[in-house]
């Protein structure tokens, strides 16, 4: 998953970035609201948003994004633990709310949960044709046989599965999987898609000519 972490604390931000990257996610880190402009137009699977930022309120930023039609799942990370704060956060468009201090494992699980729900699945296991994908175990089964995937192959599959029936352009897929590394390897996505087809069957990932890739029936 490609995640945008908006957190001003160096210790926490650095720790979360590293933790999520070790988990195989592509993580961009904005330390201020002003830094988010650098990611304008970039696709993300979720925003991890702090409330109190040096140059403004994360909540206000979220409200503006929601008003602008941005439906990206948002997990609020905040020290505000009062009931009215939690209610404000959720009512302003956050999909989930976690109070600091928290275990990064729990945060990662919540990120997976909001992304899953955003993709329309309550379960961590998603079936696409003959293939079953486990978003928690980060693995896939074909006809009940566990198929080993590399980290990048998994990331490509996850990005497509979380957007069922939707055409994902190559550029979008590159940024979702590789983040800003995408400029370094322009054919990487084709390689990973090809590899996925070999392991999980050609029908899993559909190529929509001239537009991109799609998993699952057209939305």
């Amino acid at each position: 998953m490609r995640l945008l972490l908006i957190e001003d604390d160096e210790l926490l931000g650095g720790g979360l970035c590293d933790f999520l990257r070790v988990d195989g996610h592509a993580v961009e880190w904005a330390r201020r609201l002003g830094d988010i402009d650098a990611y304008r137009g970039e696709p993300f699977d979720a925003y991890l948003l702090d409330w109190q930022l040096p140059d403004g309120s994360g909540l206000e930023w979220l409200r503006a994004r929601r008003n602008g039609g941005d439906l990206t799942p948002v997990l609020m990370l905040t020290a505000r633990d009062m009931l009215h704060d939690r209610l404000r956060g959720l009512d302003s468009g956050a999909d989930d709310y976690i109070v600091k201090p928290f275990a990064p494992e729990e945060m990662a699980a919540r990120v997976r949960a909001i992304c899953r729900r955003s993709a329309g699945s309550a379960s961590a296991r998603i079936r696409v044709g003959e293939v079953e994908v486990d978003l928690v175990a980060r693995c896939a089964w074909l006809d009940d046989e566990r198929i080993e995937l590399t980290s990048r192959e998994w990331s490509v599959l996850e990005a497509l599965v979380l957007r069922p029936g939707r055409i994902v352009t190559k550029g979008e897929l590159e940024r979702l999987v590789l983040g800003f590394e995408s400029e370094l390897a322009s054919n990487a996505i084709e390689v990973h898609v090809s590899s996925l087809r070999k392991k999980l069957g050609r029908e899993l990932v559909e190529t929509v000519r001239g537009l991109g890739y799609r998993v699952g029936a057209a939305a």
């Binding site: 604390d9 160096e10 210790l11 926490l12 931000g13 650095g14 720790g15 979360l16 590293d18 933790f19 070790v22 109190q52 990370l77 020290a79 505000r80 633990d81 009931l83 109070v99 600091k100 201090p101 928290f102 275990a103 990064p104 494992e105």
Partner: protein, 422 residues
């Protein structure tokens, strides 16, 4: 032990009754004296008039002295009144025929004017004929009886008025104290934290300064609470974020570290988690304005939410609690932390009474002397250096709920009971 305060109404009523009794006694004494005086004067006038009326007929009717034993009796009068005609030698010429009237002369020697002899009040007047004296007398008993009757009549007429006055004044006292009761009622529902909250105008001029003082106090408290809330917000951010950062960094380090280093890192992470719990509990407890927000709590669900690694948690026949979930969680977390640090491997939750949570660990417990010391510290709320943070927080949480903390005896382990009030 609660000491009852003296009642203003009761004190006023007692004073009123006391002063009424004293006033009645003083008034009665004054009335008594005046009546005695006036009645005696009236009766003396009567004696004098009677004597003057008798002089003429008596002086002319008898010119010869009469022997005492054969002194003729005059017309009959009541036994309480008598008269004598006495010669200048002190011999009785004539006496009234009243029953019990003395035959012997009231005075042996002529004694004009008023005088008292045993049992009688006497008025003597010379007839002007050969030194004869007319004595008219009334029994002292009759005079006292007359004076007493008049005085008692006056007192009995005045007593009901006094009783009515006392009752009316007591009623007035109660009515005048009603604004104080109303003020108590208003204070019971007065929340100075509400915007624009004020006690308003007092019902009595005397209470206006009290209203003003309470409003001023509420203002000061509100400002202080606002400052504390601002501080807590800053403190929360300043403490929680670095703690989360430490945990995230440790989680990454645990993943990346060589196997030999992982136990050490895990211990550090466990300590960091403990610090998180303590900070969370402290912030929850000392956040001003964090009123108790009661809701139904399932003890099993509460225990499941408290993941303390290495501590087995069990619930035994529990009934739901009605308490603030955040505060109770903070208190129980710290009790569990205590239990673990003291070597317990398991903790059992139960509810021995309505809204009472018992936390029983299987640790070494404490000896009776230490338990007594802990109980005394909790009773006196003197925690510094006498109890750990866990017991202090648990006691504060229980007290915030209107209950308290107790440390029952136990055959094994350590038992804490949180009474969460009703």
């Amino acid at each position: 032990m609660r000491l009852s305060s003296p009642s203003i109404g009761g004190r006023l009523a007692r004073s009123l009754v006391l002063w009424s009794v004293l006033w009645c006694a003083a008034l009665g004494a004054a009335v008594w004296m005046i009546v005695q005086e006036e009645v005696a004067e009236l009766l003396d006038d009567t004696l004098q008039s009677a004597a003057e009326g008798l002089i003429g007929p008596l002086a002319l009717s008898l010119t010869e002295p009469v022997e005492l034993s054969t002194a003729p009796r005059g017309p009959k009068t009541s036994g309480r009144f008598t008269w004598q005609l006495v010669s200048h030698q002190g011999r009785t010429h004539l006496v009234s025929s009243a029953l019990g009237a003395p035959v012997a002369p009231l005075h042996d020697t002529p004694k004009p004017g008023f005088s008292d002899v045993p049992g009688w009040r006497v008025y003597g007047q010379a007839t002007g004929h050969d030194g004869q004296m007319v004595y008219v007398a009334q029994t002292t008993e009759e005079r006292v009886e007359a004076a007493t009757e008049v005085a008692l009549a006056a007192l009995f007429a005045g007593a009901p008025m006094t009783v009515l006055a006392v009752l009316w004044l007591r009623s007035r006292i109660r009515r005048e104290l009603q604004p104080l009761r109303d003020l108590s009622e208003r204070l019971a529902h007065y929340d100075p934290m509400q915007r624009g909250a004020t006690l308003g105008t007092a019902d009595r001029e005397e209470l206006q300064p009290v209203h003003a003082a309470i409003d001023a106090l509420a203002g000061r408290l509100t400002r202080r609470v606002a400052h504390e809330r601002a501080f807590t917000s800053h403190a929360a951010h300043s403490l929680r974020t670095p703690l989360a950062g430490i945990d995230a960094q440790l989680a990454v380090a645990l993943r990346e570290a060589e196997a030999a280093h992982r136990p050490r890192l895990q211990r550090v992470r466990t300590a960091a988690e403990r610090l998180q719990r303590v900070v969370a509990a402290l912030l929850a407890m000392f956040r001003s304005g964090a009123e108790v927000q009661r809701s139904q709590i399932d003890v099993g669900a509460l225990a499941a939410r408290l993941p303390i690694e290495g501590l087995v948690m069990e619930t035994r026949g529990t009934s739901p609690l009605n308490a603030d979930p955040d505060l109770l969680t903070a208190a129980v977390l710290n009790l569990l932390d205590n239990a673990q640090r003291h070597g317990a491997q398991s903790v059992t939750f139960s509810t021995p009474a309505a809204n009472v949570l018992r936390v029983h660990d299987n640790g070494p417990g404490v000896d009776p002397a230490r338990r007594r010391e802990l109980r005394a510290a909790i009773e006196a709320q003197d925690y510094a250096g006498r109890t750990g943070l866990g017991l202090m927080l648990a006691d504060l949480v229980a007290r915030a709920h209107g209950g308290g903390l107790s440390l029952p005896e136990s055959a094994s382990g350590f038992v804490v009971e949180l009474d969460l009030g009703t």
